[in-house]
Symmetry: C2
Subunit: 139 residues, 2 copies
């Protein structure tokens, strides 16, 4: 029996060019990062979770803080993540992606009325998804 | 101006041995996966988000569904993700990790009372974090 979990708190993307990715996500998300450094950029999302960009290869050593040590990590390859969007906002997101010059690679209408996904590629080839929040909700 | 986002909906981990990772996360999270296939295992979290395990190299082609095409993706390297835990449950999680035979690699007490993180490694070397929910909350 595990203690209670609340949900996802951080999703990370490893990027080759921090400035390029920061520009891309600032425009896509329509927000400034909470903080932006050469090694790490954090976008705080409305549910108090974070989309975090790490410069690839820049966190291969533990990061020491006054409160303890953050373990090393890194990644490569075109990974996947999804952000939830409000019901009824799919068309607005379609328009927004187009306005940002971001191609919609594909769309999926999920069965059983579970909503709709828009897929795009970020500058590193990561497969991003914008999907209506009810995809994983209990029916 | 971007349309509204709700927050994170999916974090993905690429794993070398799906059964091994499924056993690990089932025990750690204290829940059965929503579905479990050779290619993909989905754990639905309490906030209707999902922690998704993908067998490495098994999603290099698009997945066709009746409602559209899911783009290919993949990843390697010891990446990072974080799950939120309830305030006051850090000690319970410490006990639970130990009970699962999972070593706590390090801990961080965040400054300004922003909470506490427990870090562990999963079977693929991914750096998992259990952190009190208020880390990224607006102060």
């Amino acid at each position: 029996m595990a203690p209670k979990l609340t949900g996802l708190l951080e999703t990370c993307l490893y990027v080759d060019d921090m400035e390029r990715s920061r520009v891309f996500y600032r425009r896509l998300l329509g927000m400034d990062p909470l903080f932006a450094e050469d090694r790490i950029t954090v976008f705080r999302l409305p549910d108090a979770s974070a989309l975090i960009l790490f410069a690839r290869g820049a966190t291969l050593e533990a990061v020491e803080t006054p409160g303890g040590s953050i373990p090393p990590h890194d990644g490569s390859g075109p990974s996947h993540f999804a952000l939830g969007v409000a019901e009824g906002d799919v068309e607005s997101w379609r328009v927004h992606l187009t306005g940002c010059g971001i191609a919609i690679e594909s769309e999926v209408a999920w069965s059983n009325g579970r909503g709709h996904s828009l897929y795009f590629r970020d500058p590193d080839g990561h497969a991003g998804e914008l999907v209506t929040r009810r995809l994983w909700a209990r029916s």
